[in-house]
Amino acid sequence: MKIGAYEDSGSARTLLSVECLKKYFESRSGFLSRQVRLVRAVDGVNLRVFKGETLGLVGESGSGKSTLGRVVIRLEEPTEGRILFDGRDVHRLPKEDMRSFRRDVQIVFQDPYASLNPRKSAENIIGEPLTVQRICDGRERRERVVRLMEVVGLTPDQMRRYPHEFSGGQRQRIGIARAIATNPKLIIADEPVSALDVSVQAQILNLLKDLQRDHNLTYIFISHDLRVVENMSDRIAVMYLGKIVEVAECGMLCGEPLHPYTQALFSALPVMKPGERKERIILEGDVPSPVNPQAGCPFHPRCRYRIRVCETQVPALTRTGKGRSVACHLIGNDASGQGEEERGAVI
């Protein structure tokens, strides 16, 4: 596929660029089975992330959000395609650049219980990247840890405590302090509040907002909670079965979703207004599996607007107007004046 037709805002603003990315896993159907099946976790993703923005990534369970994040920070090798960070191919970095990449890109995980080493003190968990990246050690490291703990709203006298002595929200603060320890440019936040008590989620979201403002951070914010993503993001990308089906500025996407799947997603969202029952689009069927996907548009088996071509051809992510791209035959074929050369646009 041709990559072109970038937004004219230009590549100077681009921090991360994901190009035709595929990540397939092999999975065996049973313990004894020889049959190996291919899981197309990420299946041809094009995406750009601009400096200083928050890009929200939403989609149902298994749609490939975490896998995409893991490939970006090099926890996984891509099957195909490439990722450019600050213009350089992440998976082909020379050794010395690798070190700075590890510093620049960090991840915050969903489960603050599982993601922290239970045998390490808060000080060691937060300070570890500083030692590993040979940024500082000893007394200097301790001073840095103290400051980091203050920044994320922990008290430094809790430094010698172990993860089990902290609440879920505090553990997530430790995870965030560790992630910002190396002064990163990009943080991938993979469901950072999903495991937290509802009354604690807002505290962590506010912390992420403050850090972004104070440290000029760029976020990829992964969540299945649309309300949270809507509140946090500048732009939102919607994933379905390993593909991006729509990406647009937050207000546009939430106010007027175009892709039939995005529409269903927003209509399924409960509103907090008792008595004001809205019409819901109830999708037929289940989320299909990324193993041996059907031909055509990944969404066509559940789509109420499907036409012939949807069953045979995969629609390309196509720019439909300023700040929005959609992968849908019905919308792509719309007489919006966008020519064929716009196809495959990455925004």
Partner: protein, 325 residues
Amino acid sequence: MAKVLQVTNLRTCFDTDSGTVRAVDGVDLSLEEGETLGIAGESGCGKTVLALSIMRLIPSPPGRIASGQVMLDGVDTARLSDEEMRKIRGRGISMIFQEPMTSLNPVIPVGEQIAEAVRLHLGLSRKDATGKAVEMLKTVGIPSPSERAKEYPHQMSGGMRQRVMIAIALSCRPRLMLADEPTTALDVTIQAQILDLIDRLKEEAKTSVVLITHDLGVIAEAAQKVAVMYAGLVVEYSSVRELYYEPRHPYTVGLLESRPGPRGKGARNRHLKVIPGTVPNLYELPPGCPFHNRCNVVMDRCKMERPEYTEISEGHYVRCWRISP
């Protein structure tokens, strides 16, 4: 109208090595025919224990119902024999559990499991029950139901398993259905399907529903009454409309305000309102009101005395010294 469920001053404790946990600590609730009662509250506040107490399914030891009364259709369940209670659990009340995998038998095809329930409770023949099972699978929206009936639970997705559970629960047309986080593990589009289903079948069988969830949005859509729980207590109970438009308890107010809503411009840069602090550990609850150390309108009295459960307007109950001194 007859009260299908009436819970009075219910207390359920667990005696553990590190002390006694008062998981449900004096709960009053009631539910009328055909209504849905939403129970909201954060992890560990006692929602599941409350549901299990109503079903008389608390594992004992370590658990015990320390006091209180559960009336089903005017009958005090404490007066029933185990045998009678078992009958009620089949025909009168059904429960949908948080994780359907734990309550489905992994080595029996799902169709047979539904048929078994139908046979027991409706007294159908084996053949008729099998037919009814397929019909139920179809009703709950499972495609190609006669083939699917032969599958085992692990061959189905979470959403499908949850629908099988609902099929079992509803094939007996229960008076009361307790649904414990029936959609929490599911995607929103599947959640919409399940809620739609509960609603439809509720209309058909006039079943009353207790819907447990931490998602206030789900309750706003699906319920008529709502109880907000905090640390083993119901802190506010009223009609859904009144609770959402005129919440009174500071915890309810905080929860509603801190939830990100549809945003206006610039929301990314604006702070969300927060409830400071964290949910207390039930082993070391502060004296007085369990919410007092996070409350923005706390008074001295709140630190000493537990607030009483008071009716502040018709059908609206609050546990707060500020609201009802």
